[in-house]
Amino acid sequence: MDSTHGLIAEGSDPRGRVAPVIDRPPVLEVVSLSKTYPGQVALDGAALRVMPGEVHALVGQNGSGKSTLIKLLGGYVKADHGDDVRFGGERIDLWALDRDIRSRIRIVHQDLGLVPTLSTVENLGLGRGFQSGPIGNIRWREEVRRAQELLLAFGLAPDVRQPVGTLSAAERAAVAIMRALQDWDSSRPGLLVLDEPTASLNRGEVDALFREVRRVAAEGAGVLFVSHMIDEVLELADRVTVLRDGQVVASGEPAAELDERRLVELIVGRPVADLYPEVDAAVGRPVLELSMVFGIALRGVNLKVHEGEIVGVAGLVGSGREEIAGAVFGATPRFMGKVLVDKRKVFATPRDSIRAGMALVPADRKALGLDTQERLHQHIPLPRLGPLQRGLRLRHRAARRESAAWAERLEVQPPLIERRMEKFSGGNQQKAVLARWLRTEPRVLLLDEPTQGVDVGAKATIYGHVRDAAERGVAVLVASSDAEELVHLCDRVLVFRSGSVAAELRGSSLTEERLIAETLGATSHRRNMRIGREPIRVKVVRENPPVEEVVEIPVEVAEPMVEPEVRPQGMLSSVVAAVRDWWRRLK
C-alpha cells in the first residue's frame, strides 16, 4: 500500500458525492490490525483508511472478519500484538482509548444495543444523560419533544414513551442510529460505524438513513458502513474495502469504478456467473393449494404452487408477505380457508404440516430456526428421527453420520458436527437449517427470507439447493423482501398488498422495477386498484330463520396509495374489516 493519502478524482462522480478532503489526515487509518482466536485467525493484517467526509464501505462474507474489526474498533476485544491504528493522524490504542476519542467513535451494532423494556426517550438518554431540573428531576416533556424531533428526521413518528420492544424493527433501527448521532460534534474528526443498519428497513427508511449518513459525512466525519447489500454499498459509499478470510483483498477501491459483478467477485473470490442459475421450469400438477386463508394480516389468500415450481412472494411490511410462510406451515395462527398439499387437507399445526410434507425455513433464524445451544448433529435430524430409531433406541452413530453427510452436501463450514449452532456464522447456520429440512424430503418447501443476513457465497449455495429441490419436483414458496433475489430465483412472483395476492408477475413481466412498483402498489394505469383477485366469499349463517348464504365481497375497492400498516388482528376483526370495506363502497 502506498503511503500517501488516497487521491480521489474530484467532480467526476455522477452520483454527486462530496469529494473527500485530501489535505486533512484520515479520520481513521488502520495500518495493521490482526486478531487471533485460538485456532483461528479472524483478522490478518487489516488495513484501511477512512477520510473525513467519506462514506467508506466494508464488505465481505460472513466470517470474513468484519465483525471482528468492529469489535476491535469498539474495544470489545484486544488486538494482537503489533497493531497500528491512527485516529485523526495520532496513533491510538483501541484497547485503552481515552474518553474523548471513544466518544468520537460511534458504533451502531447490528443488534442495535437497545434496552427493549425502556422507552425511546430513556434509550436515547442512556449514554448521554438527561436534561434535568433544579432538584435533579428529569424534564420529561423536553426530552420527549427532543426524541420526537430526532425521529422525525427519519420520517417516523412512533410513540416515544412506549417501550422500545413494542416498536417495529424499522423504528428500533432509527432509534439506535439517532442515539449514535445525537450531540455529534461535527467540528472535530469523528467516525460513525454502521454495522448492517439497513437489514430491517424498507426502501423509504433506507433513503432517510442514507440522507442522514450523507449529512454526517458532509460535516466532515468519516463513516464506516458495513453491509451485505451490494447495491446499497454501491449507492452510498465513496470507497469500498473488501475483506475475505480475515484479509483485506481490496482496500479503498473507489466505488465509482466498481460494479456489482466486480464487487461480488472480490467478496467471493471467484466469478459468480452461476449465482443465479437459469430458470427452466416445467410446470406440473399443483402441490400446494391455498384457498381463502385468513391470518393475523392475511385476508383471504388464494394461491397454487405446482410441482417443481418456485413461487416468490413480495410485499411491503404488513402486507402479509412476512406472515404467509408461517401461516401456511401453521407456525402462526390461520383462520378459515383451506391449505391442501397433494389434495390432502392440512391442519394449522407444524406437526401436521410436516406430516403432509411441508418444510419451513423461518426468517427469524436464531429464535425459530434453531436452538443456539444444540450441536449440529442434534440439529439436523430433529424433524425426522423415525428412520434413525431401532425399536425405541435412537442410533446416535447413524444420526451423526447422516448429519455429517448433510453438512458436507450443503457445504456447512466448518463441517464439524459436534459444534454448537451458536458458533457457526449466519450463512452456515442458514445452510444447516436448510439441510435439516431437505433431509425430511419435503413436498413443499417454504422459505421465509432465506438469505437474510447471509453472505454471498452461502447465498449461491442456498439458491443452488433450492433449485435442485425444485428440479426434483418440490414446490417452493419463497417470501422475500429482496426483489433481486425473487426476480432471479423464482418462476413467478405473487405480490401481496393488504394481506392478499394483488398481482402476479411471470415471464417477461418479471423484472425488478416492475416488481418494486407492484409492491408499492404504484403501477401507473392500475393505480389504487386491486387487480387479479377473486372476490371474497364469506359464508354467512343466519340462525333465525336458518339460512346459509354466500356473500360475495367485490374487490375493486379503492385503496389509498400509501398502505396503512396493518395492525395485528384476529379473524373476527379481519372479517369485520372486509365487511366494512364493502359497506363503505355501498354507501
Binding site: 425459530l368 436452538d371 458436507e408
Partner: protein
C-alpha cells in the same frame, strides 16, 4: 467434488471420504495453511499430541468425583473406624434412595425447560394419602398405594393444565400447587403423625441384599430407565429440544405442549412414588414429610447438570446426591453439625453449581488471565514433563530455537506480501 454415496432406500451414508488434506477445497487449504503457520509459531503451546483427552478429567467436567475423593481423604483420617465400614456407605445409599427418585424425576421438567416446585408438596400429599388410607380407612395395600399414585397423577395433570393451557409461568403455578398440596396433607393428617402401618407395607422398604433396601433397587431401576429415555430415545431428544428453544422445537414438529405436560406428570408421579417409599421406610408420616426434599433435589439436579455434559443428566444428579450425602454422613460421624450440616451442604451446592455455570459463561468471553489460559492447564504441565508438546525430531538446540520467541516472526506473518 464430494464422493459421498447415500443409500436411497434407508438414507444412510454408505461411503464417505475421509477428510484428507488434498481432498479439501481451496479455502480449506488456505485456512489450514494459516493455522499451520500459526501453530509453528505457537508450537511451544501445542499439546494436541497428548494421547489422553485431558479435558474429560478436568474438574469442570467431573468435579464431583474429585470432591468425593477429597471427602474420602478427609474422613479416612478423621473418623477411620467408622468410615471404613460398609454400614456407613450403605446407609448413605439407603437413606437417599428417595431423594434420588425425586431428583431424577425433577430432571424431566427441568430438561423440558419448566420448573416443578410442587415436588415436596406431592411427596407429603401422597405419603399422607397412603398412610391415611392404610391406617384410618383400612384400605388394602394396593388400593392405598394406587390412591397415592393417583394423587401424583392428578397433581401432574393439574400442573400441566396450568402451565400449558392457562400459560401460567411454571414457577408460579407449581409454587401455588405446592401450597395447595400442603393444605391437603394437613387436612388429611389432622396435622398429626400417622403411625401404625401394617407390616406388609413396612416390608416394602426392607433389605434385599448386602444390607441395601429395596428402595435402593427401585431408585436404581428408575434412574436407569430415565437415563435410557433421556439419552437414547427420540422422546429424550424432543424433551431437550423443548427445553432448549421451545418455539424452534415446535416448528420442527415437536409437540412441545404435550412434552411439557408429560414432563410435569412424570415428575409428579416420581414424587408420589417417593412419598409412598417415604411412608414405608419411616413408618410414620406427617404433613410436612416431603418438605426437606425440595432443595436437595434441585441442588442435585443443578450440580449434576455441570457434570459430564452441559445439560441435565441422570448420572450427574445421582452422583451429586451420593457425594454430597457422603460428605454429610462423614461430618455427622465426626459429630459436626448433625442437625444443620445437610441444609448447609445442599444450599452451598446449589449456589456453587448455578454460580459455576454462569461464571464459566462469563469466563468464555472475558479476559484471559494466566490461570485460565490453555497453557496453564494440567495438560500443559504434564505435557511439559512428558514432552508431548515438543517439536518432533528436534535436538535440544533446535528446541531451544523453537522456544525462543522471535518477535520478528510474529510481526512478519500478518503483513500482506506485495
Amino acid at each position: 467434488m464430494t464422493q459421498m454415496r447415500i443409500d436411497d432406500r434407508t438414507g444412510e451414508v454408505t461411503h464417505r471420504p475421509t477428510l484428507k488434506k488434498n481432498k479439501l477445497t481451496r479455502r480449506h487449504r488456505v485456512v489450514n495453511e494459516r493455522i499451520e503457520r500459526r501453530k509453528r509459531i505457537d508450537s511451544r503451546f501445542d499439546t494436541r499430541r497428548s494421547p489422553i483427552k485431558w479435558k474429560s478429567f478436568h474438574p469442570r467436567n467431573i468435579g464431583v468425583v474429585y470432591l468425593y475423593a477429597l471427602i474420602w481423604l478427609v474422613f479416612m483420617t478423621w473418623v477411620p473406624d467408622t468410615w471404613f465400614t460398609w454400614l456407613t456407605h450403605r446407609s448413605v445409599l439407603n437413606q437417599n434412595a428417595i431423594l434420588v427418585v425425586v431428583a431424577v424425576g425433577l430432571l424431566v421438567p427441568l430438561s423440558a425447560g419448566v420448573f416443578d416446585l410442587s415436588i415436596a408438596g406431592t411427596i407429603s400429599a401422597s405419603a399422607v394419602m397412603v398412610s391415611w388410607g392404610l391406617v384410618e380407612v383400612g384400605w388394602s395395600m394396593p388400593v392405598a398405594i394406587g390412591a397415592a399414585l393417583l394423587v401424583g397423577a392428578i397433581v401432574g395433570n393439574l400442573n400441566g393444565f396450568l402451565v400449558v393451557k392457562i400459560k401460567i409461568d411454571s414457577f408460579i403455578a407449581t409454587l401455588g400447587m405446592s401450597s395447595v398440596l400442603t393444605a391437603f396433607a394437613v387436612w388429611r393428617s389432622n396435622n398429626r403423625s400417622i403411625l401404625g402401618f401394617p407390616d406388609g407395607f413396612k416390608g416394602l422398604a426392607n433389605q434385599f441384599a448386602w444390607g441395601l433396601n429395596k428402595t435402593v433397587l427401585v431408585a436404581a431401576v428408575l434412574a436407569f430407565g430415565l437415563w435410557f429415555v433421556l439419552e437414547h430415545t427420540a422422546l429424550g431428544r424432543y424433551l431437550f429440544a423443548t427445553g432448549g428453544a421451545r418455539e424452534a422445537a415446535r416448528l420442527a414438529g415437536v409437540q412441545t405442549d404435550r412434552y411439557l405436560w408429560g414432563s410435569l406428570v412424570t415428575s409428579a408421579m416420581f414424587s408420589s412414588l417417593a412419598g409412598v417409599m417415604l411412608a414405608a421406610q419411616f413408618g410414620s408420616t406427617q404433613a410436612q414429610s416431603g418438605a426437606p426434599y425440595l432443595l436437595p433435589a434441585f441442588a442435585a439436579a443443578f450440580l449434576g447438570s455441570t457434570q459430564f455434559k452441559r445439560r441435565f443428566n441422570v448420572w450427574g444428579a445421582v452422583l451429586a446426591v451420593f457425594v454430597l450425602q457422603s460428605g454429610v454422613k462423614g461430618l455427622q460421624l465426626a459429630g459436626v453439625g448433625t442437625t444443620w450440616i445437610e441444609s448447609l451442604f445442599f444450599g452451598v451446592a446449589l449456589i456453587v453449581a448455578v454460580g459455576f455455570s454462569s461464571f464459566r459463561k462469563r469466563v468464555h468471553g472475558g479476559q484471559r488471565r494466566w490461570w485460565r489460559r490453555e497453557e496453564s492447564g494440567p495438560e500443559y504441565f504434564l505435557g511439559r514433563l512428558l514432552g508431548w508438546g515438543r517439536v518432533r525430531g528436534g535436538t535440544s538446540e533446535d528446541n531451544a530455537k523453537q522456544w525462543w520467541f522471535d518477535p520478528s516472526d510474529a510481526e512478519g506473518h500478518h503483513i500482506k506480501p506485495e
